[in-house]
Subunit: 253 residues, 4 copies
């Protein structure tokens, strides 16, 4: 049997602002990455989203981001490794409190946005984030870009790691993502995205933009939370995966 | 033997801003209330202050405040009980993460500033805060104004509570604090403050501004953290208490 | 001829968060109240919204709020009069910069949310806000709740004032709004709201919840910006007013 | 006669946090760069600092920074040119409101911290900042690192520019600052700093770390505002300059 985890960013509303069809998306995913108040989310939203995940039996993850609400955590910032450690620990702890108060268990941590990208490329930031997760709870699973520095750092720390892949992003010959600034970075057609996902799950390979079969480790698939067509995409991935006989199941290492 | 706990607000620096002589004050106190990033403090300061408390063998408490950095959490805000619950849980969880990562144990929670005052007077807010503390960890001790609604709420919730008294504030006939807006609210002379503290510890009474002996429960004494003469005051209280044969010891219910 | 101004809160999006159908609403209103970054809005949104108002030939107003993004400026805060003056001046200046850079002219200031309500009831806060507006530019018009303390303060300051009325709120015998916490505060039916508006414009009176005809000064009508049915409501008011032969025109004192 | 402007960052306190000996420093400087609430400062501090500058007859400048209070605007952020334009305009407008309300005149704009450094190196950001200043008021003077991209951008925009030099920083062969991360970046001795300043004013040259005489344009000298020994440094520069017969005078192009 083949298994795959579908993870999705949720809890990104803030105050009076609604973002994402969280309740509908919960039905598609097996793991939820819940914003922790730095790039999105607030204590009210965090409590509600934890409750939603419990209701839908979805594994709960913390989704720490850079302290940049207006930029939604998407603008790279030159932070120190100490700052990376501290802001991860702070946010993971804050979310974990809501999980604990709801008598549930925190399952994983996945950095958000620019923090995710920076941690994929910079081993020092990656190690700082991994150490924060480990120092908080070494049974947590670290979600990161498949094959990236964050995955290395998590393993080096003794954490279980989940390699994340994308159905709607194209890959380079080194199994990295084509930067969004370049043409052809996005796979617009959902059917193509489903095809790529299945290829990655079944063959553990992805066809790069140079038409090379590149090895890729697909523990978990990213469903997007805040696109206009996020729900349509998530539903297509879910249905495509099920139709192919792959079982959707929270990643547990 | 008589025992008393001396608690003090610390960790109220922020980013580039230094506030309070935390290291020196640590030598005077037995319990530290560490800011959690809402009214003061940041992840870096929280980590440093937790380390400082451990080094000085001081019990670690979370010191959640209103989300008002520019007002230092001192401006009353009309928040709902749900918001009080959520912002307490968020901040306690964030601080607890630093405590856990340092292999220490969180000991208590004391609300800050306007949240403290609002919780002393409004039973609904008090209950919300107490429930957040209990839902996070029911072995935590809730620090609040002696005899106030927050103390009631903590007890009703099954929490251990610490009644806090002030050496440098005068009391009304109902054992409430004279509002700062009124003349005579502050006891400027340190010797008088020490005298009041000893009276409260030994006799469990305080002389009100109307010259009435009022019963007061003194589990813990507030040392101020950010006054100009905070250190002088803390030292005087500490020495006065010791000289009177009272043993300074973290409150444990 | 009868004239009336229709004003509406816009520019309340923030970063990644969209709020309100600003472009569509611009077609209904004659005056726009643009958020200034404290309760909502950010520099990008402010620039875009000023451009939108210019495009639709709508008068531009600053809409300063309390520093409470997560609470959308709707939670009362115990601020001093100095703070009210300073936060008004800061926000009006910030918005005015975008207006100046676009070679347009700032027309009015209307406080937002809890600041609006506090300024309606507390003459000291009202005076502080009015003085900030006057000290910045004494040709600006101060929008406030009809007959409220803010209107008094504006007049006392030498400012032109616009009395704001609501079609969808009921009124007390003293021409105050029924608090939202009370039943019957809202007029849910749009046709009834239009009827009340026309009555206020034509007769300068409103029927209170006690069925008393109360005098009310209706210089400008509030169109809501962020309700689910904001656009439907705004369109109905606009069309109802036009159908009754009243001319929609920016208030100019 | 030789003239020089001494500029200094002030108004960097925030809420309950005091930073810098602003009043004493005002006596040393001829131009003040006042923080605008993003990296430091708040509406209260801005009002007080504008009043202080007026009292000491010091030219008032806006000192916009990145939206990063906890990082004091010192962490580089990947912002777009549109964002650079908008955040500059917002902050300059906010400060200008306090200047206008005090019946004074805004004199210049100097970006802060990482924004200053980014604008010195990146012509696109530099142009965006310069355009924001020009669109707000084309009589303002743009202060930037001597010979940097920000100076170029200001000139290209038609603005008057002030080339800023540092007494306590060493220079490279291309008249750039030695990065702080490198050894020898700082000139610790005040006497040496004064010597370098006088050399730059009189000879329009600076001796690089490679011992090469490099041309440098010294319109204004940076006095630091928030060092431990800021006041001692500022006093030494002031006295050294005066002793050498150079007249301290606000730069006016």
């Amino acid at each position: 049997m083949l298994y795959v985890d579908l993870n999705c960013d949720v809890g990104e509303s803030f105050g009076n602002y609604q973002l994402g069809a969280d309740e509908a998306l919960m039905k598609c995913m097996s793991s939820a990455n819940i914003a922790c108040g730095y790039h999105a989310g607030d204590p009210h939203v965090m409590q509600e989203t934890v409750a939603l995940a419990i209701k839908h039996n979805v594994a709960i993850g913390a989704h720490p981001g850079l302290p940049d609400l207006v930029g939604f955590g998407r603008r790279a910032m030159l932070i120190s490794t100490a700052e990376a450690y501290q802001l991860t620990l702070y946010q993971v702890g804050a979310l974990a409190a809501f999980v604990k108060a709801a008598a549930a268990k925190l399952h994983h941590v996945k950095p958000h946005g620019a923090l995710y990208t920076m941690a994929a490329e910079n081993i020092h930031l990656a190690e700082a984030i991994a150490m924060a997760v480990r120092d908080f709870d070494n049974s947590l699973i670290l979600y990161g870009l498949a094959g990236s520095k964050l995955i290395d750092a998590g393993k080096n720390c003794g954490l279980k790691v989940a390699n994340e892949v994308f159905g709607d992003r194209t890959y380079t010959n080194t199994a990295g993502l084509t930067p969004r600034s370049q043409p052809g970075a996005i796979i617009p057609d959902v059917t193509d995205a489903v095809k790529q996902v299945l290829h990655m799950i079944k063959k553990r390979k992805v066809l790069s933009t140079d038409n090379v079969e590149v090895a890729v480790h697909a523990d978990t698939i990213c469903l997007h939370g805040d696109n206009a067509n996020a729900l349509q995409f998530a539903t297509a991935i879910r249905e495509g995966v099920i139709a192919a006989g792959v079982i959707i199941k929270t990643f547990n290492g």
